[in-house]
Subunit: 394 residues, 4 copies
């Protein structure tokens, strides 16, 4: 679908639950806080349950609903794939083949093959294909990237990422698609680990290169879970409750990664630490306005509240010290994504020929090539866990 | 102004800068997250600089603008007084006399006399008169109040509040109306201390009673400041850069309060601690999703991330661990305020006759009586500082 | 008593409980860690209960015991007054009159008159008269002082000190001499506040001058307490459970102070914060190896582990990161004190004529003049609390 | 060597630097704080450099010196092997063969073969053979063990340990034996990782069983380092600067471990976290008086200052809130070790026949079997790193 940027971008969502709300909110907030963002129209919301869908459309501000994504992917300017993982491949590829820009939630696909198929479709399309790794858009993370790019931590030697949640700690927490390999691909690994691997890649990737080889470990602590609303029924858990991995990057830097859905006391604790030859940085999502910085002559970590006017995105919001929340990452992400879409739509010709390096969408990151690189790591963790050996990532 | 709740509440704002943006954002977000909130219409934005005003109106979503509040206060259902402190009294009183509901920013007025006049107007009006102490609406603060009400900390013996900022630490930071006694009434005391005194009162007031007597201290470290845009010009600073106070409550509980605009390293650090016979609580605005709780058999403070589904307001937002920001306090505040307004508008008769206890507006808090109680403390601090002695608060 | 430094300094202790153990341990550890400290001999331990005394002497390494301090004060080179506050004045004055060096625990005396008498005796004696404000000797505090002296925080504008404990939070916690005005002089004020006031004076006193005027508040929450071992018996509590104070220093800097023995969750939380024109510092005794430093271009507090080789006293102990404990402050204190004693004993003539500025003991700090300055503040707090007005301190 | 417990235990040390000082201090402090500990005599200090040795002996309180450990191992009741790792095997085995009790520093040996030889010698000896994993004796760690044993965290699912230091971050930090494979066996792995693996085993081993298989990764960032005092000379670094490992325990629990000597901002940051089905615990050595506890109905981690009278070892020291330091772990360790020695010496017959489960020394832990179990893990990490595959640990 091509569009004219003097008209609002028509947007379609597949999915209206958690991620649907997060992105709809982001779209709704852009005009007041990012007035130079492209105009958008929440055109159509896609789902299967017509009644729930109608309610959601009203709440989230969509003009109409549809129950088949096939009717939508070539009828909008931008298609947001916010469905469960097993619905990522087919609709996304169809959209890209129709020339419709796509923002797809992470992980890109349940399997590496699916992700490769999507990345191929992106490479052959003139449309922009973005993956929704929203944590790149935390101001403190962008600030960390600035510091790393400026050489403040020197050469990167170690990166450590962990993502701890606790919602499956009880054996009788209900089964959901997130516990099913067919639908989700993996558990903590794909749901949480994908974020961590991407974040590490975003922060230090230009200095470490890609993950070259890795060793992985996945564990399932609860073998089956009750089905909500069906007394006495259970379904098997076919994904990991927790994973860990050791990574060696091209540069020789070491990475250690971990995630868990069974870590009591941790609600959404996505942490990343970088050690370089000149300094260290630390971040935790539960205190997302802060970055701990140890550089230069410092003797310890400095707790920086990343809310000053010249901090990334902050001038759009509030004065120093007036903290933002988790949802703001979506506003920033949508701002960048939609701006790139509008720029692409405005140019007559395909943006850069769709070479593999960038896919379509010019310089926009994280795109499907980025997401594919992440998926290679996720796949490597599973292969390594199966094989009991270190595996190459490529 | 009376209204029909089947129609949207027509809202007028005086002021379109920091607080204007915060409240406009709150109104804009209500439909998606608090669908049972009354419908509102951002009808009219009042200011003096027509060009800036027009820009702001477009950005903040107002239908029209006005340059004289007199034309507005009886032409809307709700009047938000978001102007500088010296503009609080006259327009607010006029609105209340016209039967228009008011939300007025804090502190209520530059002087106790002004605040009294406003509270009197509120008492005589059928309209709701609310003061915008938004920090009452932090989920962690509401949760703290729940714990205190449930007796979890026992009898309250000590409360300590401090509000530290650093934006005036340099002598050459620019002069603004906030440095002028005529316009602001006081400095850190009214701007920051008002929040702290109200928060303490909200949290522990039912257990300690009101502040009975106090001792205060105000200090100005920088006597004059440069005027922006007027090279070489300075204006005198006629308010405090920092204040401190000791309070004795009716119950015998002790309060210690402090604020500063010259505390390096603190951007917006509003902290409050409560010690009771059974436990303690601690909160800091820079980590506003957290409450530190020491109760029962605990041996130390537990860091609670107040983001669970059954935490105050949280079910309207995101899953556990997905933190909210400073601005969410305004959404909650507007939700409560507008709901109370709508309820009042729906009832035929004046809500409770406007007795002093509640003013109009039924049970809504913080109302003008609450704000007047805060102002008595602020006034006491200044009187005590002048007199060099402890003073009664009443 | 004069001594010959080629002989060990003979030391007598009055008191063998908490402080007796702390100082005996310090003496015992000096040879291994501070080999240039003067040799000492734990000669005589003074107490009333002969059986407990004998046990303590064996445990603490004393050669003999005595039940009357009068027999001891002129028979040793150094007299440590570690008894309860009401035993500070008479034995200390007697020792000083006998030319015996004294280390007296804090607060100097139960009353300002007593303290003045002791300071006078010190001024007239050739002996060294030191007060045991051990927290001056925390490495992180010494480091803070270095930073302040080097101008790293600029001019000091605000100092805030608080000392929170919880051991009297229950009404049925047992009565002790620390609850009795006759014996202790005051409660949290003298026991805890003395430390805070001294620490503030040590850190910022050269920049702020002395406390000039202050406002104080004392509160007793539990009026009587049970007597241990005497069922059903209680005694009245005649001291404060908590105090607060506001101070104005000669320079115009503001001080706020507070202590409590009824703050649940705080065991020994002695905290001090300094805000200056160029930076801030923060310290808490419960994490005594750390100093939080915000200076220069820093954007927030840096958590410095003060355990490097060139940090104060650290080269005597362990490699970086190997933390010390509370008791190490006594080792440092005894090292400094005994070194000053030895230096004084080695000189033929009185050290500096006993001028008021330093008392005897040359430049040793904290001496009795320092302790008297602290006592003036404590006394001021009580006078202000009684009078309900700000009082001058002098 | 057998002894008579009515006589002091005669003790010989091999090594007088960092560990020599730490253990000598511990011995010196026992009488005052642990009066029921066996009497000891610091008999002989062994080293090669006679002059440095003589100085050290005087400072550390040894009666005499010796330059050949062969003259010592059968001439004392207890032999402390505090030398570099490559001196652990031969003297220790000789001592055990002579029936002399041994306390050997960690890691037990540079290689698994060496460790096995030592453990065999211990099994065949009547003497007690202990390994100096001092961090087991931190009060907060003992308290953590109590909680885990009491089921407070339920079944253990995940354990995470990391030990971060920064002293080799600069390429020009000097070479030492700790950088040499021959002398040290490994780098961060053996020096730091040994502590972590032991601590995990101590805390959760009874619930997880032993490490069953693991994957390891070692990295050297600086290939050669300058030799101190020899300008322009360098020596190769033949050990790891950092390692990481993933472990699967017999129970299916997951372990992740990591250490680094090149982590800027971390001086001695030994951290361990345990997640179970009912709760979590966290500890860091840089704040060693604290344990973070999340159990029962808690909503987050509670920061417990483990300094109450009924906390492990605390009644020997100071009142609540008066924190201890790193060195106190050695006092506790020596107390337990020497008490076990004295008990063994007092019994006529060999303590328990030297079965493999406990070696000699009855129930004393950590003994050489414990240390051997740790060494198997260290060895596994190196084997896995060499082979590029997961390896069995046995």
């Amino acid at each position: 679908m091509s569009g004219d940027t003097s008209e609002p971008l028509r947007i379609g969502f597949l999915g209206y639950r958690f991620m649907g709300k997060a992105h709809a909110n982001a779209l709704a907030r852009l005009p007041m806080f990012f007035p130079d963002a492209p105009d958008t129209e929440r055109s159509v919301l896609v789902g299967r349950d017509e009644s729930a869908l109608a309610d959601a459309a009203e709440r989230l501000g969509f003009e109409r609903t549809a129950t088949d994504w096939r009717d939508v992917v070539d009828d909008v300017d931008v298609f947001y794939n916010l469905g469960p993982n097993h619905l990522h491949v087919e609709p996304t590829v169809a959209a890209l083949e129709a020339g419709t820009n796509v923002l797809c939630e992470k992980p890109l696909a349940p399997t590496l093959d699916g992700a490769q198929e999507m990345a191929d479709a992106a490479s052959e399309s003139d449309a922009l294909a973005a993956c929704a790794f929203n944590y790149r858009f935390v101001p403190a993370i962008q600030y960390a990237r600035r510091l790393i790019d400026a050489g403040e931590v020197g050469d990167v030697r170690q990166v450590r990422g962990s993502y701890m949640q606790d919602w499956l700690v009880d054996d009788d927490a209900a089964w959901s698609w997130r516990n099913d390999e067919e639908m989700a691909g993996s558990g903590a690994l794909g749901d949480l680990g994908a974020h961590t691997v991407d974040l590490a890649r975003f922060l230090v990737g230009e200095r470490t290169g890609e993950a070259e080889r890795l060793s992985g470990h996945c564990q399932t602590f609860t073998e089956e879970r009750p089905v909500e609303g069906e007394e006495g029924e259970t379904r098997p858990v076919t994904v990991d409750d927790a994973y860990s991995a050791q990574v060696e990057y091209e540069s020789g830097a070491m990475g250690t990664f971990e995630a868990s859905r069974v870590a009591p006391g941790h609600k959404n604790d996505h942490s990343i630490t970088v050690h370089g030859t000149e300094g260290s940085l630390r971040f935790s999502l539960e205190r997302l306005n802060e970055l701990e910085v140890m550089t230069g002559d410092a003797r310890g970590y400095e707790t920086v509240l990343v809310t000053d006017e010249d901090d990334p995105y902050v001038d759009h919001w509030w004065p120093p010290g007036h903290v933002v929340g988790w949802e703001h990452t979506f506003v920033h992400e949508n701002y960048e994504f939609l701006s790139a879409v509008a720029e692409g739509e405005a140019s007559e010709t395909p943006r850069d020929g769709g070479g593999e390096a960038a896919g379509a969408g010019g310089d926009y990151h994280p795109n499907f090539q980025d997401a594919l690189a992440v998926q290679r790591v996720l796949d490597g963790v599973q292969r390594s866990d199966d094989a009991g050996e270190w595996v190459s990532v490529d």
